[in-house]
Symmetry: C2
């Protein structure tokens, strides 16, 4: 099993290997934030779906709403550049709020970020598969399976430690950006769309279900803000990528704004509404260039780029989890690197949470977006507020202007968060409303536990001198055999005081069996007494544990229970042995002052002499 | 978790308690073989479904085919009474073939029996649920779930050790038999059926799909033989039930024949054909008495009785598996009684195999029947042939007649087996054709392994005297703490020669961390050297194992690796500890001549003084 696993994720890596490996991708990095950019695949769609509720005419509002969103984007990108300047070691919203707003707020940010990373993965993969099924409607019934296959692929990539390398994978991102810009350009030049017949049926209601109200516009605005969700990731990434991050933020801002506005103009001009089995982006692409090879290439590229966007979260959550674990808010396990020098528990957690989400929503992007945006906007609001406090405390040049800018950001995103929670509560937002406090509760409980253990273990203090007692070794045996001799030999090495015990179940013929074992033992005479334990129950471990407990009460000795194990050389053969050693070890696990020990005698296939290669026992 | 489990299956039982418990049900036993009797719920149906392929007129053949089956039943029951006489200790086909046809044939019988028991469970439960959904069509979409719930209930019953008691549950069986006899009587008295509208649509094709051929009649005959599948169980049961078994065989024969013939006459007279969502038995009942309270009562009774029939297999397979385990053909685990004095691994195996089958066929009885009959008829053929050999060897009075009778049985069932395999191969029979040799292969491999281990362990021989070496204790520590003191104390009790080791990962700041630990150690000065191990990999276990291997090569010492474990008092808190002890124990498991030992220091909540209740360490 171990070797099959290593075949999948690769052999163990040295710390040194990784440090070199980690520097390379920085050079080749696209210098663009993928998860921000790829949100164009679902952001415009989210706006249009909300507006469609008020009928076909309301769809014209897509353009002004997009303009508002691009403005918000500018504020956010600017203030995130300030986050990067202020906290160059990464950690984003968590680091900013911990430093400025205290532990409580930092935990809110951390919980929101965990939700955010998970949703980024789920939304990106679902949107990628939606692009795929728009192009190839025959795949639609297998949406969930395709989502899970992509997720599994990204997970294994990251367990191999190749996540960073994948994040540096330049070509598809370039095709994606250039392709979209060309499509938008063609749309602007040929204002009359190629009216190729579109698959699917229009989902715009013939009679408006809602009137155009302020609330509806706010809803559409909030929904469209899902296009901003990737901005947060820029500030939470790995510390190594500091320098390009500022550049990335700028370029991303420019590109994302251009593409969003371009798509909004085209959607407005061509009256694009929601359609079954077709994403808005797919409709726009098909109208601009027709359903030809270029359309299929773009669709596949979008799927690939969105998988890469999901991959960026795998660079974020494990690092955040390791920071939380170092601060004692998550199990310390999350701070340990594994054989491949990656934070495997964080990767697994992210993969499992995203898989659950994808299955729960059956791979539907639009169901995920309200959840997504709440998590992200909570993070936005907190880090912006944190920065206001930060500027007010440190008062660098032009601090008033900076604080005002971040204050504006905090206010805007705060309002958006509240609108989200209120309007989308029954549509899934309740999950986030429960999950965030749930995570905070978990973090707090874990933290309290570690503090208590630290006190109990006396960490940081110098303890007293160790104390010593004489030792007795208790050896459970089943029959007189080479295994018994092996175990008794090792027991006598530890201490001359050894007691062998064997259990006889009270059933038909038990007296006879007890006599037989004792007779054989006497014949062997290994220099150690045999104690036959009788039991009326079927468990063999129980009477041994009872014997040990009684022995402990009667003698003030160090007790070692030495359990002999015959270990076959093939894995499947292990099921053929009764694993009494596990049962007994488990039963003894909760007993202090009893050393439970195991000694293994290998069984090496029929061609060896059984004692051939075991020095010291022949 | 342990206590939740005991709440479900009950507290541990003494051997004594069970022996008393086991005698009681014998008195109240229905003295009828349930799994044979309940086959009337699907036997006639199986014939009619095959005949319907040749159109409505072919349905008249149901009566002559049933007569042939009842004749075969008489032969089988008679020869099974001879099995019981010859092998009063149970084991049925397996025991008969082992004694007379050798190990090879006995393994074929055992494999066929495992398949048979599994299919009895699956078929009985599926047929019971079919009776339920015929009466309450609204439940039809949940067929599989209802099947699994019933299976889970029967499994827990048997894990509690209440299987025998349930087998003695007389009332529903009586209602079932008396009810069916009354329904048949009403059908005979009122030859014009109550033509209440039946739910579902007729599945008899308007144009015959096949002509009435010898093969079709053989197929229908073989399919109907599924009504005989329970007869085998009479001879395989628990030895305690010897006396009533002969009585049971007689009564069962009489009743089963009467009911089968009665149902065949009614089906013939009323032109009952297969119908969607309605079993044949449900149609006959509804025609005889209408869909009123009596019909619903009978339907519920049939479901209950079929669940009890599934329960009989749980009395069979675990006993068979324990016999096989005692003969070293299955893991010895199967021969061990658990806390409740039941053979739990056999019960679990049966439950899991049946659940897989039920899910695979989506709870459809008719899909299971071809599989079912092959396993059963292989067992029939083998035990009948075995008895021919038995009579020829022992030559009791009238042995020629007995041998002829069993020979006839063997020939008839042999032909039926071949017809089944040939005609039903693609419809699922291949599963059995693969499973039976598969089980035989498994049994043989396991047997060969145990023989080899017996030789290697020198079982039955008296081994040489044990040998002794001086001991060194290696203690892995993380930091200077109370846990380290606790472990070093216990280590010094075992041997004055103790080495503490700690691992420092080569990463940023590793030199500083190493210096800090060594400085603290020097300050504490526990009288034991500390060895700092450096590693470039992330694994902490690996450098320790390497150190141990090197130490072993350099010194001819008994090595004890004593791993300290801090054990929290609540289960969920255990995930907060890095279980380096498990990793290390596992890594050491394959190393002979190294004793891997664990010492537990409990962490008992914040209100105790940490050393309060641990004598000898304070």
């Amino acid at each position: 099993m171990g070797s099959a696993w290593h075949l999948l994720v690769g052999p163990p890596l040295r710390w040194r290997d990784v440090t070199t490996e980690r520097i390379t991708p920085v050079e080749g990095l696209p210098a663009l934030s993928l998860d921000a950019l790829t949100s164009v695949a679902y952001g415009p769609e989210a706006i249009i779906v909300v507006l469609a509720l008020a009928g076909a005419t309301a769809l014209h509002l897509v353009l002004p709403i997009t303009i508002a969103i691009v403005l918000l984007l500018a504020i956010l990108v600017f203030s995130y550049r300030q986050v990067i300047d202020a906290y160059p070691n990464g950690g984003g919203a968590y680091a900013v709020s911990r430093a400025n707003l205290g532990h409580g707020a930092s935990l809110v940010a951390a919980a929101a970020l965990v939700v955010d990373y998970t949703l980024t993965v789920a939304v990106s993969i679902a949107a990628g598969v939606a692009a795929l099924t728009s192009a190839f409607p025959v795949l639609t019934p297998d949406t969930v399976v395709i989502c899970l296959v992509i997720l599994a692929f990204v997970t294994v990539l990251n367990l191999r430690g190749l996540g960073d390398a994948a994040r540096a994978f330049l070509l598809p991102t370039m095709v994606f950006i250039v392709g979209l810009l060309i499509i938008i350009a063609i749309g602007f030049i040929h204002p009359l769309a190629l009216h190729a017949p579109q698959p699917g049926v229009s989902l715009v209601p013939r009679v408006p279900l809602e009137t155009v109200s302020v609330l509806l516009i706010l809803k559409a605005f909030s929904a469209g803000c899902s296009a901003l969700t990737g901005v947060e990731a820029i500030a939470n990434g790995v510390p190594q990528f500091k320098e390009p991050r500022v550049k990335r933020a700028k370029r991303t801002e420019l590109l994302l704004g251009t593409i969003l506005l371009g798509l909004a103009v085209l959607a407005d001009r061509w009256h694009v509404g929601p359609r079954s089995g077709q994403t808005v982006l797919s409709q726009i692409m098909a109208m601009a260039i027709g359903r030809n090879w270029a359309y299929y290439l773009m669709s596949l590229t979008i799927t690939l780029v969105l998988a890469l966007a999901a991959n960026t979260s795998f660079g974020g959550l494990p690092v955040l989890a390791s920071l939380l674990a170092k601060d004692h808010y998550l199990p310390h396990l999350f701070a340990l690197r594994d054989d491949r020098q990656v934070f495997a528990p964080g990767i697994w957690t992210l993969a499992i949470l995203s898989a659950v989400l994808l299955i729960a929503v059956r791979g539907n992007v639009l169901t995920l977006i309200p959840l997504f945006a709440i998590g992200v906007f909570t993070g936005f609001t907190l880090s912006q507020s944190g920065l206001v406090v930060h500027w007010w405390r440190t008062r660098p040049p032009r601090w008033r202007f900076r604080a005002a800018l971040n204050g504006l950001g905090a206010a805007t995103t705060g309002v958006a968060t509240v609108v989200f929670i209120l309007t989308k509560f029954t549509e899934g937002a309740w999950v986030v409303v429960i999950a965030v406090p749930g995570f905070i509760f978990l973090f707090t409980r874990i933290h309290r536990y570690y503090r208590r253990v630290g006190v109990e273990l006396g960490l940081g203090e110098i303890p007293g001198k160790p104390e010593v007692k004489p030792t007795v070794v208790i050896v459970p045996v089943v029959a007189v055999s080479r295994l018994a001799r092996y175990a008794i030999g090792h027991a006598l090495s530890i201490s001359p005081h050894v007691v062998a015990v064997t259990v006889v179940e009270d059933a038909d013929g038990s007296a006879e069996r007890a006599r037989h074992v004792q007779q054989q033992w006497a014949q062997w005479d290994p220099g150690v007494p045999l104690k036959v334990l009788h039991t009326e129950y079927a468990s063999v471990a129980e009477p041994i544990v009872t014997f040990i407990d009684e022995f402990r009460e009667q003698h003030d000795k160090e007790i070692v229970v030495l359990i002999p194990v015959a270990l076959p050389d093939r894995l499947w053969e292990q099921v053929l042995h009764n694993h009494i050693d596990f049962v007994l070890t488990n039963a003894l696990r909760t007993r202090p002052d009893v050393i439970s020990a195991r000694i293994t005698m290998p069984l090496d296939g029929d061609d060896h002499h059984p004692d051939g290669d075991r020095p010291g026992t022949g």
